[in-house]
């Protein structure tokens, strides 16, 4: 009556070569993977990871038309954007060509194909560079800047934003200059260059306020809040976030409300106000549902909420939240944050001094290498894995993982995290 047992995801993925054409099939396979009922309550249940979930080949076959439909829709939209670019070319409307190509790039970004998006943006930039009106070029450079940021190519991102800013200023394009300042601030923030980030965000904020651009001003205030929190100026962080929240609430921007409350939660957590932090995250979750679907934002909030519970020693709640996040990530085809989810699950087991928790770090590393390919996340996972091994008294292994984390943070130019790892390595040697 029960039929053949499902195939484990780890085995199913091992049968799939690393071909780009198979990426949608890989995503579909992962999204339909389920733990079987027996596994949930078995002694291995608490250690369940993506690899241990099961898939039924017949279900995969049955769901294939849905995947084809999504692929077709995506390709149709891309082809349509390209044909529109051609029509603009035929009409001699070069700015229209740029707009169409940038749209195609955004479509690629929406499905997480950042490298492909960059290709579209580069073509758009080539077209824009030949124009007398520099605003399309400003926009293409900005798009390139953000896609480089998403790919962890910070230096290239900064170059694009710098050029975008110079052109926007020359053209008296205030909106373009504000956006480029924001982008430069984002790059500096990602690299832990606090002074640079402060300067760029403040400059952007002045420009946004002068142009009465409330949403952008709110975003810049939120980023200044993030920065102030990272610099431990918590009063200033609170003030920036309060102002951002006021702007977004008036404008009724649900996604921005969710983002600012997510950051408010992190601030409250840093202040040791766990109840306030929890309330902020829950309100953020309520807002995120009122905004257009954004699984990444929801996952970010859930991960912060789980981390809060973990730090407060509410391990059951932390685990439940992480399992909810895992379900959102798997069901929503958002595989990237899974590595962070498993890293936190590993930390949770470490807090319980449970040696078998290593399986979560191993799964996170596998995802980072096979699916996510993010140096920043790999660095974070190695860092947490090193601490986990250290806690269990496995000093040599702890050192190896911390050294790997240091090497990765180095390659990113991430100064602050690198210094933290360095300090932990010194403590280990002492």
């Amino acid at each position: 009556m029960t039929g053949p047992a499902p195939v484990r995801v780890e085995k199913a993925l091992a049968l799939m070569p690393e071909l780009e054409a198979l990426a949608p099939l890989r995503a579909l396979l992962v999204s339909i993977a389920r733990p079987d009922e027996a596994t949930v309550w078995s002694s291995s249940g608490p250690y369940l990871t993506l690899g241990k979930r099961g898939v039924h080949p017949d279900e995969l076959r049955r769901r294939m038309p849905q995947a084809f439909h999504r692929i077709t829709e995506h390709l149709q939209a891309l082809f349509k954007a390209y044909v529109e670019a051609l029509e603009c070319q035929q009409r001699g409307d070069a700015p229209g060509v740029v707009v169409a190509l940038l749209r195609a790039g955004r479509l690629e970004e929406e499905v997480g194909r950042h490298t492909q998006a960059r290709n579209w943006y580069e073509v758009a930039l080539r077209v824009a560079e030949a124009l007398q009106d520099r605003r399309p070029e400003v926009e293409a450079l900005r798009a390139l800047g953000y896609v480089c940021l998403a790919l962890g190519e910070y230096a290239a991102g900064a170059r694009h934003f710098q050029r975008s800013l110079a052109l926007a200023e020359a053209e008296f394009d205030q909106a373009g200059a504000t956006a480029a300042s924001e982008g430069l601030g984002d790059v500096a923030l990602a690299q832990g260059q606090w002074a640079g980030a402060q300067a760029w965000f403040s400059r952007g904020l002045r420009l946004a306020e002068a142009a009465s651009d409330a949403p952008r001003a709110g975003r810049l205030e939120r980023q200044l809040g993030v920065l102030a929190r990272k610099q431990r100026d918590l009063a200033a962080a609170g003030e920036f976030l309060r102002r951002a929240r006021e702007r977004f609430e008036v404008a009724g921007l649900a996604d921005e409300m969710a983002r600012v409350l997510n950051e408010q939660g992190r601030l409250d957590a840093q202040l040791g106000r766990y109840a306030a932090a929890s309330a902020a995250y829950r309100e953020a979750l309520a807002w995120v549902q009122r905004a257009p679907r954004d699984a990444r934002l929801e996952l970010s909030i859930r991960l912060n909420l789980a981390e809060l519970d973990l730090e407060a020693g509410r391990l059951l709640e932390a685990e439940a939240e992480l399992r909810r996040a895992e379900q959102v990530a798997i069901g929503g085809h958002v595989i990237r944050p899974l590595a962070q989810i498993y890293m936190l699950m590993g930390r949770l087991r470490g807090a319980q001094e449970d040696e078998t928790g290593f399986v979560f770090f191993e799964q996170a590393l596998e995802l980072v290498k096979a699916v996510e390919r993010s140096v920043a996340t790999e660095a974070e996972v190695c860092h947490a894995y090193g601490l986990f091994r250290g806690r269990l008294g496995q000093q040599d292994e702890a050192r190896a993982y911390l050294e790997r984390a240091r090497e990765l943070f180095d390659s990113l130019g991430e100064a602050v995290e690198r210094e933290r790892v360095e300090a932990e390595l010194r403590a280990l040697s002492a």
Binding site: S44, G45, K52, E59, E283, W287, R290, R314, Q363, D396
Partner: protein, 472 residues
């Protein structure tokens, strides 16, 4: 073995009586205007003689904000067309709100699918607009029914402590297990412990170890299903430095760690055939080799294996080695399910309440009759492990000396059916019964339509049509 249970003297009920109840505070989440406006007007009119205090929030985010500030007993959510009007999302978002308010959903002509989803999420009731006073009163009565719960004192359990673990139970099924454990423990025989998930296989293995000739050695447990297949071999046998990528140091495996003690291999059926062969060699020859090493290392461990699978069936299917089975199953112990253990449920409940009350600094002496009823009615697929989990969560949220139904998770409270509370005396229509049964089977198969259709004995297309019809 002696009976592990002694009844404590009865404690007086700590549950307040209905007439002592304060006002019921209801937060209505609905935008002003339309049918919601009418609902608010009615509620305000009914508030005075219904001992209700009513306030409003325009939407879920603002409701969360209000709930963070003060305690509410009930959230009355007017569901509309918005995407966040999914009852499970409401329950998820309200989790952790001050006082754990119960959720009542109100919708224009709620579909069967909405009712079932709400029920599954732990929503107290689903009411239709326009709201009728008697329906609301009946739903609120269920919130207030907490006052009519009677406290039942928890029996004092004297567990047969096994280190930090315990065997609790005095059912005939467990007494048989105790007798077998006592006989087996004295020998050094390899033991196979069988039983469904959560029945306590590791607890039994520890009991054998602690009462056997290897008690002075270590007890090392390995969960074969939890560890990725490519890492399990090095976890069991260890590895030499540089044996493979990531082998940064020499690692001592679990066989060696167990030394002169006991190695417990849990969920052994999940091991690959190649690794089964290596285990067989270790059991037969009493020696191992580390991965990437040439040295043969003698091991003197008692082996206890456990599984929740039918190993004989696995042998027939070629997924488990017959020779290894006979090596492991020198003595087989089968553990009963929680349902087979009858009144052990009460003893285990009492044991875990005390364990977790001590851990979380609570003073809990009793459980309400309604909570006990819900525990008894539950299917306990996860057996004792599931019960332990439920009790731990309940103890965390309990605020006084009695564990009540409201402290139990939504899944259990959801089993207090909403559909059954209907004017015709709890009787369902045929369609309602069918929809509920289909929903239950789908939950059982984790939403797999093919498997559900097979269980229901209908064609997949018929099931798909019915799911559409009932909004499942």
């Amino acid at each position: 073995m002696n009976s592990p249970v002694r009844m404590e003297p009865s404690v007086p009920s700590a549950v307040p009586r209905r007439e002592e109840l304060a006002l019921l505070r209801i937060l209505v989440v609905a935008g002003e205007g339309g049918s919601a406006g009418g609902l608010l007007q009615n509620l305000r009119q009914w508030a005075d003689d219904g001992r209700l205090e009513v306030d409003t929030a325009p939407d879920l985010p603002r409701a969360v904000r209000q709930l963070a500030g003060q305690r509410w007993d009930v959230v009355l959510a007017v569901l509309g067309e918005h995407p966040d009007d999914d009852p499970s999302w409401w329950v998820d978002t309200l989790r952790g709100a001050t006082g754990s308010p119960r959720l009542i959903a109100v919708a224009q002509a709620p579909s069967m699918g909405l009712v079932l989803r709400a029920e599954k999420s732990g929503v107290l009731d689903v009411l239709s607009l326009p709201l009728r006073r008697e329906e609301l009163v009946r739903a609120l009565e269920r919130v207030r029914s907490v006052a009519s719960e009677t406290a039942v004192p928890l029996p004092l359990v004297e567990p047969h402590a096994v280190g930090p673990y315990a065997l609790v139970g005095q059912s005939p099924a467990m007494l048989d297990v105790y007798k077998l454990l006592a006989r087996v423990a004295r020998s050094a025989a390899t033991v196979l412990v069988q039983g469904e998930s959560g029945t306590g296989k590791e607890v039994a293995a520890r009991a054998i170890h602690m009462n056997g000739p290897h008690a002075s050695g270590a007890f090392v447990a390995v969960n074969c299903a939890a560890i990725p297949e490519n890492l399990l071999e090095s976890e069991l046998f260890g590895h030499e430095k540089g044996a493979f990528t990531g082998a940064v140091t020499r690692k001592i495996g679990r066989f060696e760690q167990a030394g002169n003690g006991t190695l417990f291999l849990d969920e052994i059926a999940d091991m690959s055939l190649a690794l089964q062969a290596k285990i067989l060699r270790a059991v037969q020859e009493r020696e191992i080799e580390r991965v990437g090493g040439n040295e043969t290392i003698p091991v003197d461990v008692r082996l206890i294996a456990a599984t929740n699978r039918d190993l004989k069936e696995a042998i027939k299917q070629g997924r488990f080695r017959e020779d290894l089975y006979y090596r492991l199953a020198v003595v087989t112990i089968r553990l009963p399910t929680l349902v087979e253990r009858g009144d052990d449920l009460m003893l285990l409940t009492a044991y875990y309440v005390r364990l977790f009350a001590e851990r979380y600094g609570k003073r809990i002496h009793a459980i309400s009759d309604r909570a006990l009823e819900l525990l008894r009615a539950h299917a306990w697929v996860g057996n004792v492990r599931e019960l332990r989990n439920v009790i731990e969560r309940a103890v965390i949220v309990a605020t006084d000396d009695t564990l009540r139904a409201e402290h139990l998770p939504d899944e259990l409270r959801g089993e207090e059916t909403t559909l059954a509370d209907r004017p015709q005396g709890g009787l369902l229509t045929l369609a309602e019964a069918e929809a509920r049964h289909i929903a239950r089977v789908l939950a059982h198969t984790n939403g797999q339509i093919g498997a559900a259709a097979e269980i229901l004995g209908i064609h997949r297309n018929t099931l798909t049509r019915k799911m559409k019809e009932y909004g499942l």
